[in-house]
């Protein structure tokens, strides 16, 4: 019996390399893994629930179904990555609002679904994916902005959840980190050994960025 045995892990943001690696590692460690995908999908080692995480009613329905089908969530991993690859001026109002909804609103929408259960059970782990883009990039304005918002959300959520022994941390990967390395970091942060990283944004990259 490992510490992830039978734990329910929910990963948002659809199937991406990071999510594939996390699902594989959590499943290998005995966890039950759910991935929220916008359209129907399949992923080895995981069960996919269709959900548009940028729409509150969709999120409510998906988490109610997960709880009824499997049980309460032990580990929630926010990994939304909507982007349009445009500068601020090129980005339309619609693109901006959609990226805000998927990458920022979803953090609140999804956390709200699990926070009460975690509080009552006095246990839980929440991980938020930020990105080094939050330090400013050219040509991905909305995405970078939301990855800054992700940090602010993490720090506040950490303040609110810590008295219920829930740990909340962010990961800030750079593109030079492999999906395996990112997944290993997330598993560490959601293990008991990761408790000291509560309320921190953990950088996952090789290059000598000091910001």
């Amino acid at each position: 019996m490992g510490e992830f045995t039978n734990k329910l892990v929910v990963i948002t943001g659809g199937i991406q390399p990071n999510t594939e690696a996390m699902a594989e590692k959590y499943a290998a460690a005995g966890a039950k893994v759910v991935v929220l995908t916008e359209t129907e999908a399949q992923l080895p080692g995981a069960v996919c629930y269709t959900c548009d995480i940028g729409v509150y009613e969709d999120v409510e329905k998906a988490f109610a179904a997960i709880k009824a089908d499997i049980g309460p969530v032990d580990i929630l991993i926010h990994n939304p990555a909507a982007a349009c690859g445009k500068t601020l001026l090129e980005t339309s109002y619609e693109e901006w609002d959609r990226i805000i909804a998927v990458n920022a609103h979803s953090l609140f929408y999804c956390t709200k679904q699990v926070a009460l259960d975690m509080k009552e059970r006095q246990t839980g782990k929440i991980i938020v994916f930020s990105d080094v883009a939050a330090n400013g990039v050219v040509g991905n304005a909305a995405y970078a902005t939301t990855k800054g918002a992700a940090l602010g959300f993490t720090y506040s959520a950490a303040r609110e959840t810590e008295k219920y022994t829930i740990t909340t941390s962010a990961v800030t990967p750079n593109s030079d980190a492999t999906a395996e390395e990112v997944a290993d970091t997330v598993l560490l942060l959601t293990s008991e050994a990761g408790r000291p990283f509560h309320s921190q944004a953990v950088k996952v990259f090789h290059s000598k960025l000091t910001v």
Partner: protein, 248 residues
């Protein structure tokens, strides 16, 4: 000749508090004209009249910054009147504090809209002209709240987003001689602070080295610096204005 002579400025959320303080400082620093943008037109007009009794340099404009179409209309009116915008201060903001468990979805979305998305809407109106003239200064009001507080997940997300957005602006538009910076105060002596019960306020202020909030004028001075040519090589910064309370 003040350091803002020859410049045309826009300040959002300018009817009161920090916004009104920034307008006052801009006028003292010689700005040619400043637009006081606010949802409350009457209050903005009263502030404009108080700060510029001659009615020749401060002008009030009604705008709901959460609505991109209204922002387009308002900035079109400002640009028609001034001819251009050299300085944009994105100051409008609200708070709706509740824990994540108790916070209504509407409160989360409204704070993200006004405190974050509105900056995007306003920047889009002024950037084309700034690029054309190869000159622009954007100052975005963030807050030390970006480091997160109990019951402020919406505000912290928005204000940390403002820091990131400022860095994006800095990196995307520096080549056009446009700078963008974020200002992060903690406590500022506005009506919001002075309404706090004195004993509680004293307790809260004990965490600050000089046991007091920033005066509005002290914050406005920082904004004016970032809006002037004195800050020509300061770009993408988060300017922390807390008297040493928060040193990051």
């Amino acid at each position: 000749m003040g350091k803002l002579s020859g410049k045309f400025a826009v300040v959002t959320g300018a009817a009161q508090g920090i916004g009104a303080g920034v307008v006052k400082r801009f006028l003292e620093d010689g700005v040619d004209a400043v637009a006081l943008v606010d949802l409350n037109l009457e209050a903005a007009e009263a502030t404009a009249k108080e700060l510029d009794p001659t009615g020749t340099r401060a002008f009030a404009f009604k705008c709901n910054v959460a609505n991109p179409q209204d922002v387009e209309r308002c900035f079109a009116e400002i640009i028609a009147k001034f001819g251009r915008v050299d300085i944009l201060v994105n100051n409008a903001g609200i708070i709706r504090d509740r824990t994540i468990i108790k916070m209504p979805v509407e409160d989360w979305e409204l704070v993200l809209k006004i405190d974050l998305s509105a900056l995007f809407y306003c920047c889009k109106q002024v950037l084309p002209g700034m690029i054309e003239r190869q000159y622009g200064k954007i100052v975005n009001m963030s807050s030390m709240g970006f480091m997160g507080s109990h019951g402020q997940s919406n505000y912290a997300a928005a204000k940390h987003g403002v820091v990131a957005l400022s860095r994006v602006l800095a990196k995307e538009y520096a080549k056009y001689n446009i700078t963008a910076n974020a200002v992060c105060p903690a406590a500022v002596a506005t009506d919001m602070i002075t309404a706090v019960e004195p004993e509680l306020l004293k307790k809260k202020m004990a965490a600050f080295p000089r046991c007091r909030p920033a005066e509005v004028a002290e914050l406005a001075a920082v904004v004016s610096f970032l809006a002037s040519d004195d800050s020509s090589f300061v770009n993408g910064e988060r300017m922390i204005v807390t008297d040493g309370r928060m040193c990051l």
